[in-house]
C-alpha cells in the first residue's frame, strides 16, 4: 500500500466535536498535577525539603537553647547538615527544571535532555559517594574533640573500601534507573542526525 493511500485513511480519522462532559473533564484536568516522573521528582524534592526542615528545626533549637549551651556544637552540626541537604536539593531541582523544553524543536530538546540527564546522574553519583568520606571526616573530628580517650584512626582504614563500594553501588543503581533512557535518547538523536 502506498503512503498516499494511508493518507486517505488518515484524513478520514476525524473525531466528532467534544461534548460538554468531555469539556468539563478537560477543565478538571487543568487543576490536577502532572504524573510524569520528572514532575513527581520535583515534587518529591520539595516534600523532602519540607520534611527535613520540620524534623531538623526543633532539634537545632533544642540544642541551641537548651542544656545551658553545652551542646550548642550539635545544633551547628545539624544546621550544617541541613544546609548541605538544601544545597543538594537545590542543584537537583535546578537540573530537573532544565531537563525538558517541550516547546523546543525535537532535536534540540533531545540534545538538551541527554546533556542535562548526564549532568544529573553525574551529580547524583558524586553527591551520593561524597557523603561517605564527608560523614567520616565529621565523625572523626567530633570523636577527637568530644571523646579524646577514643582513637578513631583505625576506622579510617575502612574509609577507602567503603567509598569505592558505595561509588560502584551508586553507579549501578543510577545506570538501572536512567541508563536505558539515556541510551534511547542518544539513539534517537543519532537517528535524527543520520542521512
Amino acid at each position: 500500500m502506498e503512503l498516499e493511500s494511508l493518507k486517505y485513511i488518515w484524513h478520514s480519522l476525524e473525531v466528532p466535536a467534544p461534548g460538554e462532559q468531555e469539556r468539563q473533564a478537560l477543565l478538571a484536568l487543568l487543576e490536577k498535577k502532572s504524573q510524569a516522573p520528572v514532575a513527581r521528582m520535583r515534587r518529591n524534592i520539595i516534600g523532602e525539603g519540607i520534611l527535613l526542615l520540620v524534623a531538623y528545626t526543633p532539634a537545632i533549637l533544642i540544642f541551641l537553647l537548651g542544656f545551658n549551651g553545652r551542646l550548642i556544637a550539635i545544633s551547628w552540626l545539624f544546621l550544617s547538615v541541613l544546609v548541605l541537604f538544601f544545597a543538594y536539593y537545590y542543584c537537583k531541582y535546578r537540573l530537573l527544571n532544565k531537563m525538558q523544553c517541550p516547546t523546543c524543536q525535537l532535536k534540540s530538546n533531545l540534545a538538551r535532555q541527554v546533556r542535562t540527564l548526564k549532568r544529573y546522574t553525574r551529580f547524583y553519583l558524586l553527591a551520593g559517594t561524597g557523603m561517605i568520606p564527608l560523614a567520616y571526616v565529621v565523625a572523626y573530628f567530633i570523636i577527637r574533640w568530644k571523646m579524646p580517650s577514643v582513637n578513631p584512626n583505625p576506622w579510617l582504614i575502612l574509609l577507602v573500601p567503603i567509598t569505592i563500594g558505595t561509588y560502584y553501588l551508586n553507579a549501578c543503581y543510577i545506570n538501572r534507573l536512567y541508563g536505558r533512557h539515556i541510551k534511547k535518547l542518544q539513539d534517537l538523536l543519532q537517528e535524527l542526525d543520520s542521512e
Partner: protein
Amino acid sequence: MQDPAIQEAFVRLVSEHRGMLYKVCRLYCRSVADRQDLFQEIVFQLWRSYPGFRGEARISTWLYRIALNTAITGLRKRRGLISTVEPDQLPAEWQEFQYPAEKEEQVQLLYAAIDKLTEVEKALTMLYLDDRSYNEMEQILGISQNNLRVKMNRIRDKLRKITQADVYGIGKS
C-alpha cells in the same frame, strides 16, 4: 493561571486539535491506559506552555512540538503490554473514541503499519500524513529539509514493504 477566560480559550484550542492529540497517543502507546496517560501529560505540557505562546510560531507547529516532545522524549513509566486497567473501568470522559466497525479495520491496518516504524519515523509519517510542509516539519523536528526528504523516501519504501507483507504475505516465510 486561573483566569476562567484563559482556561476557556485553552480548552477550546485543545478541543479543536484533539484529533491530532489522539493520533499522537495512538501512534506512541499500545495500551489504552498508556494512551490516556500520554494524552493527560500532553495536555499538562500544553497548559504549562500556554502562557508563553506568543504566536511567533504557527499554532500547529507549537502543538506538534509539545505533543511529539512529550511522546518521544518524555521519561514515562511504561506499563506492560497487558493493560492492568480495563477501559470500561475508567471514567467515561476518558474512554477512547471508537470508530465505526468498518473504519476500525482500516484504522487498525494503518496503525499496524506505522507501528513498525521507529519513533522518529512515526513522527515524520504523522506530519506527512497531516499535510505539513517540509518547512514546518523542519521547524518542528529541527532537521534540515534535505535530510527530511531523504528520510521520507526511505519511510515510503519501508511502509510499502510493510503493507505488502501484511496484506499479501509477501516477504513472510
